[in-house]
Amino acid sequence: MIDARGPRFGAAISTVVLAGAIVLIDTPVGMGILVWQTIVFALGALVGLRAQPYGILYRRMVQPRLRGPVVVESAAPPRFAQAVGLGFTATGLFLVIVGAPFAASMVLACAFAAAFLNAAFNFCLGCEMYLSVARVRAGIGARR
């Protein structure tokens, strides 16, 4: 169980970073930003939320300064969100490397939208997707 405000803080940073990556997609700086954000998501998804740089920043700098009740949530949905982010940024990185920056910016725009919705509206993507996936699986199962 983790402090639910942490991933939301991380999503806010990711939103800004991804916007920067999109705007600078044609430049080496943009590529560097994209590489950085891909590493961030990879750490969060593959190693765990404790290793996620924005989460570390939150726990060291932001959380001690916050007052009010701590809303606790399971670590699984935010970790799933990191994996989704990793999928987008890795794909974007690949598209930049093979010389398709516009396609890359389209893919990164999706990640940007997801991070923004998470940060601004606390949109629980996991809750929305989880049941839809299960319903599809059940539908496929029922047809057999």
Partner: protein
Amino acid sequence: MTEVIIVVVVLVLATIAGIVMKSRSGRVHQRLADIADQSIFSVLPDAQVDPTARVTAIQFSSAFCQPCRATRVILDDVAQMVDGFAHVDIDAESHLEQIRTLDIRKTPTVIFVDAGGMEFARASGQPRKADVIATVADHL
């Protein structure tokens, strides 16, 4: 320059989408398309219902769903306050057939039924406590 336009357009669309979703989420409403021609108790025979309750809220939850936990707390609070109101928590993933029958798209979804198990309202997403109380009070 194109990239800046992309960011701005996505920002605007996402903001609109976010506001719309937020305003609809958790709204307690009555469905117009009435498939409630059978009691929910027959759809969910294994649900542990309180037979003395005049209004029952049936919450569908899934694992790792923080809004589900919050909704459960809200329904608990209302059940403490209001006599004749009870609630039940159903795991969505182990009731996939019923999910399809009841047209449940996300968790948490709360279905409000009367003593006969007929649905009169539902909320998709975490409802506000005041809305729950109002809905329940109307049907007690």
